[in-house]
C-alpha cells in the first residue's frame, strides 16, 4: 500500500487560472454542451443542422459548431440538445459528453509552435479529422476563429496532465 500524494501534484479540478506568456495564452473554455454523435456523416450534420464538421486546418468559428472525429462520428459543440440513445429514424447514436471533454484554448504568435512540440501538425497538410495524439494524450485539436487560436478537447481525466505539458 503506497501513499503517492506527494508524487502527484494536486489536481486543479476545473479551476484553472489562465496561463499567459509573452507569445501564448492558455485558458480553459467551458462549452455549454458537447454531444457525441455517430452514424452516416450526412445524417449527423442534418441532426445538428450544420453544413460541415471541422477537421484541420480550416477553423471552427462561432459558439456552435461540429468537429469531425472520424468518417462516422462528430462532436457537436453547443449544438441543439438531442436526446441520448439510438435514433431510429436517422440511424444515429447520441451520447452527452458535456463533462467528458475539457476544452483548452491556446492562442498567440507561438501557439502553433507550442502545438508542434506535442504533435506533428502542419497547416499545409489537411485532415478531415480533428482527432490527434498530442504527447501521450488522445485529443481533438482544431483551429478556432483567428489563425493564431487553437482549441483542444481532452478527456477530462487528462486535463491536468495536458495543461501541465502545454504550460511547460
Amino acid at each position: 500500500m503506497r501513499n503517492d500524494n506527494a508524487k502527484w501534484a494536486p489536481a486543479q479540478g476545473m479551476s484553472f487560472d489562465p496561463h499567459v506568456t509573452k507569445n501564448a495564452t492558455l485558458k480553459r473554455v467551458q462549452p455549454e454542451r458537447q454531444t457525441l454523435l455517430s452514424g452516416p456523416f450526412a445524417r449527423l450534420l442534418e441532426m445538428i443542422n450544420v453544413s460541415d464538421a471541422t477537421g484541420w486546418p480550416a477553423p471552427a468559428s462561432g459558439s456552435s459548431y461540429a468537429l469531425r472525429l472520424r468518417r462516422d462520428r462528430i462532436l457537436s459543440v453547443n449544438g441543439p440538445p438531442i436526446e441520448e440513445g439510438w435514433h431510429e429514424a436517422s440511424g444515429c447514436a447520441v451520447s452527452d459528453m458535456t463533462d467528458g471533454y475539457a476544452v483548452i484554448s491556446l492562442s498567440g504568435p507561438d501557439a502553433l509552435t507550442v502545438l508542434q512540440r506535442g504533435t506533428e501538425i502542419n497547416p499545409a497538410e489537411p485532415s478531415a479529422s480533428a482527432a490527434r495524439l498530442f504527447g501521450s494524450y488522445g485529443v481533438i485539436l482544431y483551429a478556432y476563429g483567428s489563425d493564431q487560436t487553437y482549441r483542444i478537447h481532452v478527456p477530462r481525466a487528462h486535463l491536468d496532465g495536458l495543461w501541465d505539458l502545454l504550460r511547460t
Binding site: M1, N5, A9, W86, Y101, R117, S136, R156, D164
Partner: protein, 928 residues
C-alpha cells in the same frame, strides 16, 4: 611537439584565448576551436586509448569520422561522458580527460595489456572464459571495457526539447553542394530547410582556394544570405542522425554544453543528402600510431582551425584528387613527401612518437603520415531510408544505387567529388532536374590487403580490430559480413563503419578471393552519430510519463486525508484519515459492514453500445447471455479473448431495446473499448452498432452497507429505493439537483449497494450530499470487502490461462447456443484438462498471520517440489476477525484439504475452502 598553430587562416578567433585542461594539464585555444584542434595546436598527439589493447590514439579525422579522441568533459559542475574531441566546441574552463585511460592517455597503466595481444585476439573471451562460468568473469571484463564513465549525478534540467517540423525540401549537409542546392530550391519558391552539423556552414569548402571567383568565406556567406532572403532556413549545429518510416528525418540540434540537444522530427516532402565523403584509411603495418591521419582531416584542421598537423609529413594517397590537398599543405609550409606504396607493405616506425615510414627497406623520417586509400561517400542516411549501395570499381567505393523517390544524394556523397561538378549537380537536382554529366573524372586504386604479414595492421582503430582478426574470423568461418562484425566488433560503437567498413570488407574480400560486392556490406542503422538517450525521452518524464487519469473529486479526497495511489491508471484513494494505513483500512472495511461507506467508483467503465444490432453484438462479445436481458436490468458478464481466457468482467445494463451500458473494470476501459470497436468492425454492419466511451462524462459514487438505502433516501433523486421497487441488479434513472442521475443497484461488497452516477460537474454536489451521512472508504477496504465475498479482480485473481469455468461460471460454456468470442477456446483439450486451476479460498489456523500474496501451493514428488497453485489475494478481515485469502489452485485438490505453501524459503500451511467466506447465503445483498 610537431603540430602547430599558424599565425593566420582558419575560422577561429585568435583575438581571444580560451583556457582548458586535458588529463590534468593546462592548455589554451581560441573560439572556433574544438577540443581536438586546440590540443593538436598545442602539440598533443596522444588523446586517447583504444578499447581493447589500450594502444595510444591520436586523432584520425577532423570531424565525426574520428574514432580515437573521446573525452569525459566537465564544465561548471556538469560532467558529460563520451564527448568526441573533434566535434566538441572548446569552451573556456573545460576540464577534459580521456576515457578508458588512467591516469592519463599519455601514461595509461592498462597500456600493458598490449603486451599480451597475441593471446587476446578477436573473440578471445568467447573461448577463454567458458570454465567454470562466463558470469564469473563478466563483471571484471565489463568493468575494464566500455568508454566513458557516468559520474552518477543527475543533471538537473538536462531535458531535450522535441519539436515536429516539416518542409518541402530538407537539405542534409551545408557544404558546397548543400548550400548550392538549398539556395536554388529556396529561390525557386520551395520551403527549404538545410541542416549542417558544424557551427558554421561551408563543410569542406574552406579547403578550396576559391569558389566561383570568390573566397570560400565570401561565397558561403553570400549563399547563406541568399537562402535566408528567399525564405529558406539554415540550421547549424544540427546533425540529421536517422531516417525513419514515412519520410521522417531525425535531427539532433546541439544547444550548448550541458544542455540536452533539441530533437527536430522533420517530415520532408523531398530530401537532398549532401553529407560529403570521408577518407578511406590505408591499411599498413602499425597504422594506428598517433600521427597517422586522414589526408582530408589534416587539410580540414588547416583550413578550419589554422593547425598544421605536422612538420615533416609523408603522404600515401590512392586517388586522383589528392594532389590539390597536398598542394594546400605544401603551401602552408609543410615539408612533405608523397610515397606510392605500390604492392609493398609500408610500416610506421615509432617510439613514443612517430619517427619514420619504412617501405621497400627505405626509411622516410616523418612525424606525421597522411593517408587516403580513396574517398568514401557518407551514405548512412541513404541506407536508413532504404536506399541501396552499389559498388563502383573505378571509384573503388560504394555509391548510391536505387532508393526511394523522395530522397536523392548529391555532391561528394553521390561520388561527385569535383567542386564545379557538385555545384552544377546540386542546382539541377534542387529544382527537380536530372544531374548533368560530370566534367571531371575520378578514380581510386587502393592497394590490396597484405595478408599473412607478421605486422599488425589496424582495420578498426577504436575497437582494435586488426587484419589478423579478420583472418581469424575467416578461418573460423565467420565470413558473412554480419557475422564478421559481431565476432570482431568491427565498426561498432561511435565509428559505425565510417572508417572501418570498407577496409574490413576489402580485407574479407581478399581473404575469400571475392570482390567486395560479393562479400556484401553491413546494414547502417540510426543513429549516425552518438546521441544522448535523453533525446528520445523529451517530455515523457515524471507525471508526463504515462500520465494518470485524475478524478473529478480529487480535491475532496485530499481534503479528507486520502492516501492517493495508482490503481489501474487512475490516481485513486487507497484509504482515508491520515493515520496508520493498516489501521485505517481495517476501520473502513469494518465501518462499511456496520453502517455504510462511500466509494468513488468514477473510473468504472460507462461504454454505451447502441443500434438495432446492439443486443446481438453484446451477446456475441460476452460469455454470458445478454439477449434475454430486459430494459432496466443489469447482468454480470465475462469478456473473453478468442482463446477463451477471461479478459474482463463487468456489469451490463440494458437501457432500452437498442442501448446497453457496459460497466467494465476501471483499469480496462480503454482496452474494452478497443475490443468492442474491433469486433464491431469485424463481421458486423458498422452502421447498425455504435460504441461510445462516455466514462469520463460521469462521476460515480458507490454507497454500500446495511445503511446505504437509508442514507440514499435522504437525497432527493425521485427514485423509489425500496427493495421491492428497486431490487438488486436493476437500474433506475432520476434527477439530482438539475442533473440527470443513474442509480444502479449492484454490489462489489456483498452488502446492499447503490452506484449513483451523475455528470462529472455534479460530482462535488453529490459528494457533499452523501458525505455528510457516511464516511468514505478507499480502494484497499473495497478489496477486503470483495475478497470476503470471493469476488474477483481480473488480473489479480486470474492469470493468463483463467477461463470462466475455472472461476465457477461454467454454465454458459455448455448452454449458450449463440456464438460468442472465446467459444472455441473453451472447448480445446487444454481448456478441459484435468490440471486446471480453479478459484479457491484459504483458511489459516487460529492466530496465524495472513498468507503472503504470491505464496505457492506446493506438493512434493520424487524429491521435487511442484507448484500446484498460488495465493492471489490475502487480507486480514476485520469482519471475520481472521485472515482470508483467495487463490488459484489445481482443481484436483478438493476443498478441505490442508495444503503446504512455499514463500521466500519458508513453508506455511492452510486449508482450502470456498472462495466466499462472508454471508454465503447472500442475505445482506438483498436485505430490506
Amino acid at each position: 611537439m610537431t603540430a602547430r598553430r599558424l599565425a593566420s587562416g582558419g575560422l577561429i578567433d585568435r583575438t581571444k584565448v580560451l583556457r582548458f585542461r586535458f588529463d590534468g594539464r593546462d592548455y589554451t585555444g581560441h573560439p572556433g576551436d574544438t577540443l581536438a584542434s586546440a590540443l593538436l595546436a598545442s602539440g598533443v598527439r596522444i588523446m586517447g586509448r583504444s578499447f581493447k589493447y589500450h594502444r595510444p590514439r591520436g586523432v584520425w579525422g577532423a570531424w565525426f569520422d574520428d574514432p580515437g579522441a573521446i573525452f569525459n568533459v566537465a564544465l561548471n559542475g556538469i560532467e558529460l561522458p563520451n564527448c568526441p574531441a573533434t566535434t566538441t566546441p572548446l569552451i573556456d574552463g573545460m576540464e577534459a580527460r580521456a576515457v578508458n585511460a588512467w591516469p592519463s592517455a599519455e601514461r595509461d597503466i592498462k597500456g600493458a595489456l598490449d603486451l599480451f595481444h597475441r593471446v587476446l585476439p578477436a573473440g578471445f573471451y568467447y573461448k577463454t572464459f567458458m570454465w567454470p562460468d562466463w558470469h564469473l568473469f563478466e563483471p571484471s571484463i565489463r568493468k575494464m571495457a566500455g568508454l566513458g564513465s557516468v559520474d552518477g549525478q543527475t543533471l538537473e534540467g538536462f531535458q531535450t526539447d522535441q519539436i515536429h517540423a516539416h518542409c518541402d525540401l530538407l537539405v542534409v549537409g551545408g557544404g558546397l553542394a548543400g548550400l548550392a542546392a538549398a539556395r536554388a530550391a529556396a529561390e525557386a519558391g520551395q520551403h527549404v530547410v538545410m541542416v549542417e552539423d558544424h557551427p558554421e556552414t561551408g563543410g569542406s569548402a574552406y579547403q578550396l582556394a576559391q569558389i566561383e571567383g570568390q573566397s570560400p568565406e565570401r561565397w558561403v556567406a553570400d549563399t547563406v544570405d541568399a537562402i535566408n532572403v528567399a525564405g529558406g532556413e539554415v540550421i547549424t549545429n544540427a546533425t540529421a542522425y536517422g531516417v525513419y518510416d514515412h519520410q521522417l528525418v531525425a535531427i539532433a540540434q546541439d544547444r550548448g554544453f550541458g544542455f540536452a540537444p533539441r530533437l527536430i522530427r522533420m517530415r520532408a516532402t523531398k530530401c537532398l543528402l549532401a553529407s560529403g565523403a570521408l577518407d578511406r584509411p590505408l591499411t599498413f603495418a602499425n597504422n594506428d600510431r598517433p600521427g597517422v591521419m586522414s589526408l582530408s582531416g589534416a587539410v580540414e584542421f588547416l583550413s578550419r582551425y589554422g593547425v598544421l598537423v605536422g612538420d615533416q609529413v609523408v603522404v600515401m594517397a590512392s586517388h586522383c584528387l589528392a594532389h590539390s590537398q597536398i598542394e594546400s599543405l605544401e603551401a602552408a609550409g609543410v615539408r612533405l613527401r608523397v610515397i606510392d606504396p605500390g604492392t609493398d607493405l609500408p610500416r610506421a616506425l615509432s617510439g613514443k612518437y612517430l619517427s619514420a615510414l619504412e617501405i621497400r627497406g627505405d626509411l622516410h623520417p616523418c612525424d606525421t603520415i597522411l593517408t587516403s586509400a580513396g574517398l568514401t561517400p557518407v551514405l548512412h542516411l541513404w541506407s536508413h531510408a532504404g536506399g541501396k549501395l552499389i559498388w563502383d570499381e573505378t571509384f573503388a567505393t560504394f555509391l548510391p544505387g536505387t532508393g526511394p523517390d523522395w530522397i536523392e544524394v548529391i555532391g561528394a556523397a553521390a561520388g561527385t567529388f569535383d567542386a564545379d561538378d557538385a555545384l552544377a549537380e546540386a542546382r539541377a537536382k534542387a529544382c527537380g532536374g536530372p544531374a548533368p554529366s560530370r566534367r571531371y573524372s575520378y578514380s581510386a586504386t587502393p592497394p590490396e590487403a597484405h595478408l599473412g604479414s607478421r605486422h599488425r595492421q589496424w582495420i578498426d582503430l577504436q575497437h582494435d580490430v586488426t587484419l589478423d582478426d579478420i583472418e581469424l574470423a575467416a578461418r573460423e568461418n565467420y565470413v558473412s559480413v554480419e557475422h564478421l562484425k559481431r565476432y570482431t566488433t568491427l565498426g561498432m560503437a561511435s565509428d559505425q563503419g565510417k572508417t572501418s567498413n570498407i577496409a574490413g570488407l576489402s580485407a574479407m574480400a581478399a581473404l575469400q578471393g571475392k570482390s567486395i560486392p560479393e562479400v556484401g556490406t553491413t546494414t547502417f542503422r540510426p543513429p549516425f552519430v552518438p546521441i544522448p538517450l535523453e533525446l528520445y525521452h523529451g517530455a515523457h518524464r515524471t507525471q508526463q510519463n504515462r500520465p494518470l487519469k485524475r478524478l473529478p473529486l480529487e480535491p475532496q479526497h485530499r481534503a479528507a486525508n486520502a492516501a492517493l495511489g495508482e490503481y489501474g491508471g487512475w490516481l485513486r484513494p487507497g484509504w482515508y484519515g491520515g493515520g496508520d494505513p493498516q489501521v485505517e483500512v481495517q476501520r473502513e472495511a469494518l465501518q462499511a459492514r456496520e453502517t455504510a461507506g462511500i466509494f468513488d467508483a468514477s473510473p468504472l467503465g460507462k461504454i454505451e453500445v447502441m443500434g438495432p444490432d446492439a443486443e446481438a453484438f453484446v451477446n456475441f462479445v460476452y460469455y454470458n447471455a445478454f439477449n434475454t436481458l430486459k430494459p432496466g436490468h443489469i447482468r454480470y458478464g465475462f469478456m473473453l479473448t478468442e482463446q477463451g481466457v477471461v479478459y474482463d468482467d463487468g456489469v451490463i445494463t440494458r437501457i432500452d431495446e437498442n442501448r446497453f451500458i457496459i460497466s467494465c473494470s476501471s483499469s480496462h476501459v480503454d482496452g474494452v473499448y478497443a475490443h468492442l470497436e474491433a469486433w464491431r468492425q469485424d463481421g458486423n454492419d458498422p452502421d447498425r452498432i455504435f460504441v461510445h466511451d462516455t466514462t469520463q462524462n460521469w462521476a460515480t459514487l458507490a454507497l454500500t452497507g446495511p445503511k446505504a438505502r437509508a442514507i440514499l433516501s435522504k437525497v432527493d433523486l425521485g427514485i423509489d429505493l425500496s427493495n421491492n421497487a428497486f431490487p438488486h441488479m436493476q437500474m433506475r434513472t432520476g434527477t439530482f439537483e438539475r442533473y440527470p442521475v443513474r442509480v444502479a443497484r449492484v454490489s462489489f461488497t456483498g452488502d446492499t449497494s447503490f452506484e449513483i452516477s451523475v455528470r462529472a460537474d455534479a460530482a462535488v454536489t453529490l459528494w457533499d450530499a452523501l458525505s455528510c451521512h457516511a464516511n468514505p472508504i478507499g480502494t484497499e477496504a473495497i478489496s477486503i470487502l470483495r475478497a470476503e465475498k470471493g469476488y474477483l479482480i481480473i488480473g489479480k485473481d486470474t492469470d493468463g490461462e483463467s477461463m470462466p469455468h475455472d472461476l465457477g461460471f461454467g454454465a454458459s460454456r455448455t448452454k449458450k447456443s449463440a456464438a460468442f468470442v472465446g467459444d472455441r477456446g473453451l472447448h480445446t483439450e487444454k481448456a478441459n484438462g484435468p490440471n486446471r486451476k480453479r478459484l479457491v479460498g484459504f483458511e489459516v489456523s487460529d492466530g496465524a498471520a495472513p498468507l503472503p500474496t504470491g505464496a505457492h501451493v506446493v506438493t512434493h514428488s520424487d524429491g521435487k517440489q511442484i507448484t500446484r497453485g498460488f495465493v492471489s489475494s490475502s487480507y486480514q478481515s476485520p469482519n471475520l476477525n481472521r485472515p482470508i485469502a483467495l487463490g488459484l489452485v489445481d482443481q484436483r485438490i478438493p476443498e478441505g484439504t490442508q495444503v503446504e505453501l512455499f514463500h521466500l524459503g519458508k513453508y506455511l500451511t492452510a486449508t482450502l475452502c470456498a472462495a466466499c467466506v462472508f454471508d454465503p447465503e447472500g442475505e445482506r445483498l438483498h436485505a430490506e
